[in-house]
Amino acid sequence: MKIMDKFGDMLMAIVVFALVVVLIVALAWLVGQIRTRASGKVQGFIYILPVLIMLLGGLVYPAILTIRQAFGGPTGDEGFGVENFVAVFTRPELLRPLINTAIWVVCVPVFATIVGLAYAVLVDRSRFEAFAKALIFLPMAISMVGASIIWKFMYDFRAAGETQVGLFNAILTGIGFQPVDFMQIRWWNTFFLIVVMVWIQAGFAMTVLSAAIKGIPDEIIEAAKIDGTTGWKLFRFITLPSIRGSLVVVLTTVGIATLKVFDVVRTMTGGQFDTSVLALEFYNYSFRYSQYGTGAALAVVLFILVLPIVIYNVVQMRKDA
């Protein structure tokens, strides 16, 4: 019965929003009946009204409040000052996540793109292309929590002498080394976590870049080959420049996703052993420590970090257009 109640609620929600649509359509119909020159314009505005209300109330207004809170001291409502931002850049427990985030946002897009591009080139036109691509792409479909558990198992650590059930430590002990607790070696553990995100994102890079490669006109390739350009040179001087736009899209999209990621770190280490990132600290400060001001400042820093990536992307897009 409880389950039925939940599905009942779910149907209710769908019906409520269907009614919203019906209401909009009815309003638009009424306006249409008036038949003045303006009625088409009013109808258009009615169609977009619910989206505007939701975006203004659910995104724009909250964002403004958050920016205000970021300047309002640790709790978010004490006067006006920049101490929260100073804290982000000076307090060790926040500076470390900031540095880690910088490492993440450089490493993940670069490695995901390299792997994705290499794989797209290697399997292009092969007999098992579709199957081979699905293998790499599959991690995109699973949650970061699921992916983290998969990798936690790969990194699993048991004390020396015990049977290692994690693949990496089994290999290490198998060839005569001591087992390693990958999540606890400072500095390196951040890179072991980055591996997980690269594993997730490479499929996205591969898909977009593969489509770009297939979009290169045959004539260009033929002309280059007539000139005697083959192999690596063909890739370096024809393929790579032709897919530059897609490379930018991939790097920026993966970069933005990486800035905001926190599930991987939270699931694998909980942010311990110096592995935390900004997005996780945002969650901790806002929803665990109840320091809304500091949390808001972290969110604003994330937003500021996203901005230049997006602006660069837009400029590139306009150049290509």
């Binding site: 939940k6 939701m54 098992f128 970061m144 198992f153 898909t207 890739f235 969110a299 897009m317």
Partner: protein, 328 residues
């Protein structure tokens, strides 16, 4: 996995292997190389294919196979583990199960119905959260996209730019005040999640659907108007049927995104009564750190639906990826 999965860009280019082996090699010198060459000719050449062949195909094949193995092994390892007994997992690595296979579904039973995890409840929650969170933004975004593309209300270009720009706002920037607003309105937990996912999906949905819609031929709209159709009729009878591919591809994208989400769920639906699988599985990872029999089964229970969606609707999912720039 079916070997007939359409590939990433929608081409069907799987050739059945005459030997019946599933190898992913790029062998162009094999016995059927003439067939292969012929296929290449028919499809035209590609820079990368040529490059790969010229880089010397044996090495290219080896590299491709190694990458494929590296990407598949982690999942395979946990998957095999999820079917092993608790004792076997403790005492030997999952790779030994390939030589001495002994499998059980006990872990899944325990994870789904056992009192300490009862993932079945969370599975229901995931469904209840995800379905409206896909349908609601799709309905509203389609209407808005039509208004921007095919009606002429003043300021629509600015509104479009504004909506597009909202894609770059990280969710984090909106979460705390949104929670305060919900609390003031005393919204039930499910409603908080549905609304949040819908709001966060709208910028990308409007952007993608608008891009698709504005490419439809204007003559269609003109013809319908001559026949006396108003905006309502044009939207429902002409546009919506043509929009199916775009709606499907964004719908799948949104489905995977909501199903796999952790942040929004942690904040708006943390309690057992309405938390989705991701929240519970993440929690298990903390409290049952070493209990791989539970954790592995739990992870795969949370993956079944998205992986099924991925395998069956891969074509649309990829189409959504390729038409979309940024996801906010």
């Amino acid at each position: 996995m079916s070997s007939n999965v359409p590939d990433a860009v929608g081409h069907e280019n799987i050739v059945p292997d005459p030997d019946g082996h599933e190898n992913t090699q790029l062998d162009t010198t094999g016995p059927e190389s003439t067939v292969h060459e012929a296929k290449l000719k028919r499809r035209g050449h590609s820079a990368a294919g040529n490059a790969a062949r010229a880089i010397s195909s044996p090495w290219a094949s080896v590299a491709a196979v190694i990458l494929a193995i590296m990407w598949t092994t982690p999942t395979l390892g946990l998957f095999i583990t999820s079917f092993r007994t608790q004792e076997d997992i403790q005492n030997s690595g999952w790779w030994t199960a390939i030589l001495r296979p002994w499998f059980t579904v006990k872990n899944y039973e325990a994870a789904l119905f056992g009192g300490s995890t009862s993932l079945i409840d969370y599975f229901v929650n995931s469904l209840v959260i995800t379905i409206p969170a896909v349908i609601i933004p799709l309905m509203l975004a389609a209407l808005a996209a039509y208004a921007i593309a095919w009606t002429k209300f003043p300021g629509r270009n600015w509104i479009f730019v504004g909506i597009f720009a909202l894609q770059i706002v990280p969710l984090q920037v909106a979460l705390i005040p949104l929670q305060q607003i919900y609390n003031a309105l005393q919204l039930p937990s499910f409603w908080q999640v549905w609304l949040s996912h819908s709001i966060f999906a709208l910028p990308l949905a409007v952007f993608l659907l608008h891009n698709f819609m504005k490419d439809l031929p204007a003559e269609l709209m003109e013809a319908a108007r001559v026949d006396g159709a108003g905006h309502n009729a044009i939207f429902f009878r002409v546009i919506l049927p043509l929009m199916k591919p775009a709606l499907a591809s964004f719908g799948i994208f949104q489905f995977l995104w909501v199903w796999n989400d952790l942040l929004v769920a942690l904040i708006f639906a943390p309690a057992r009564a309405n938390a989705p699988l991701t929240v519970r599985v993440a929690e298990m990872s903390g409290t049952m750190g070493g209990q791989w029999y539970m954790l592995s089964a739990g992870a795969f229970i949370s993956m079944i639906v998205p992986v099924a969606v991925f395998l069956f609707l891969q074509k649309y999912f990829v189409r959504g990826l390729l038409s979309g720039g940024l996801k906010g």
